[in-house]
Amino acid sequence: MGRPVLLLAIVALAGASLLLAAVIVLGELRDAYALGGGALGGILIAYGLIVLLLRRLGLIGPRGAEGK
């Protein structure tokens, strides 16, 4: 995958995380704890993927040049 695609994927995941954060708040307001819990799980998965993509971009991790 090229660098622009990875960057786009990170932005999309960050956007999805923001939406899921809003769902957590919504779940709290409506006492829908399963909804909030599911959104929390979704956010954690999105964060995990963002970390992986940052690593593939070479922005984090011990071998920065690997992703370039």
Partner: protein, 391 residues
């Protein structure tokens, strides 16, 4: 047949590694962290278990009611239960992956039998704790598996009846039972950490924690599973002391032996598990008789080439198994670099697992595996690189 199967499985394991390394950065390959993943799931189990403990009432009347209250009334209570349950499943999956990977890649032979034996204890106790966890809920399933478990205990020769009485806290099921199961659940889980010390004691740099991406992804996955309608834990049906349940849902990771009692007597299932367990303990010693046929897979204990050793301690720090010690050098080395050495590396044969890491660590060619010389390895690499690509 056994040797052929192991060799085939070794090749498939390495192929799988190569495939996964194309998707993930090589140092984030989850198969390199199966031990760390097990440890991560155990950590999640301990934290979620402590939180669950605050709500649990260990009595026949109170156990189910307390679990139902937590599930239905406490905010995020059902999700907490789900996280505990799916972390337990993740623990067993990670432990089994760890076991099979080390089995297929020969990382259980010779000086590595200690981690294998301690690992088998960890697997068995992990499974036992999981079964206790299902009993603690004290719903119909818990009642049914407790009855089967009692039958399995009763089948133990000579000590069966005494063990049953000890487990139940009397002649039959009473309020003495659930505090015992709670103790077995929590006490045995605590004991796992003593076994982990035994498991790690010989390893200098154990990978006890997976990379951040896996921590986040797996924590997210078990939280998601705990929240989704189809996989979210429910309160189930309360145990009925007057009736024995005939049908109940089974967890494939922990309750498989209880499924087998549909066809076999409880005593036969317990006997089969015992035989399987004993075979597991024997595995590290099966290959010892066939050492000459192992080729480079049994490369011999690392040997120090006295004249080349400079006493730099690089091998000492890099050896994952504490198999190299530095001793005062009584005479200078043969090379210019080793002329003024103060220390000399010595390999402790009983600890060396023949991994070859020390050979890579030594810049002075002062270490060799007797049946797998560094020069031969380099020549093979050069030949492989020189060959035209066939893909």
């Amino acid at each position: 047949m056994y040797r052929w199967a192991l060799s085939w499985l070794l090749r498939q394991t390495v192929k799988l590694d190569v495939y996964i390394n194309r998707v993930y950065p090589a140092d984030w390959n989850p198969l390199y962290y199966t031990g760390g993943l097990s440890h991560f799931f155990l950590f999640v189990l301990v934290i979620s278990g402590i939180l669950l403990f605050f709500y649990y009432v260990a009595s026949l009347d109170g156990a189910y009611a307390s679990v139902a209250y937590l599930t239905d009334q406490v905010p995020y209570g059902a999700i907490l239960r789900g996280i505990h349950r799916y972390a337990a499943d993740g623990f067993i999956i990670a432990v089994l992956l760890h076991l099979f990977r080390n089995w297929f890649t020969d990382r259980y032979l010779f000086a590595r039998d200690g981690p294998w034996i301690s690992g088998m204890f960890l697997l068995i106790l992990g499974g036992f704790i999981g079964i206790n966890g299902y009993q603690l809920v004290w719903d119909q399933r818990a009642q049914a598996i407790t009855l089967v478990f009692v039958e399995m205990l009763r089948a133990v020769p000579a000590a069966g009846s005494a063990l049953v009485r000890l487990f139940l806290g009397g002649a039959g099921i009473s309020d003495a039972l659930l505090p015992r199961i709670l103790f077995l659940h929590v006490g045995t889980a605590s004991f796992l950490y003593i076994l982990l010390w035994w498991h790690y004691v010989r390893v200098r740099h154990p990978k006890v924690w997976p990379p951040a991406t896996w921590v986040l992804t797996l924590l997210g996955l078990i939280t998601l599973l705990a929240a989704l309608p189809g996989t979210r834990p429910t309160a189930g049906v309360a145990a009925q002391p007057a009736a024995t349940p005939t049908a109940y849902p089974l967890d494939v990771f922990f309750l498989l032996p209880f499924w087998l009692v549909n066809w076999l007597p409880a005593a036969a299932v317990a006997g089969g598990l015992t035989v399987l367990l004993l075979l597991g303990y024997v595995i590290p010693y099966i290959r010892r008789e066939s050492v000459p046929q192992m080729g480079v897979r049994h490369a011999g204990v690392a040997q120090v080439i006295d004249g080349n050793c400079t006493g730099c301690e690089l091998c000492y720090y890099d050896c994952p198994y504490n198999a190299i010690v530095m001793v005062p050098s009584l005479h200078p080395g043969a090379t210019k670099a080793a002329a003024n050495r103060k220390l000399l590396a010595v390999v402790m044969d009983s600890r060396c697992v023949e991994c070859g890491i020390c050979i890579g660590a030594c810049p002075f060619e002062a270490l060799e595996l007797p049946k797998f010389l560094e020069a031969d390895v380099l020549r093979r690499i050069e030949q492989a690189v020189a060959q035209p690509a066939t893909a």
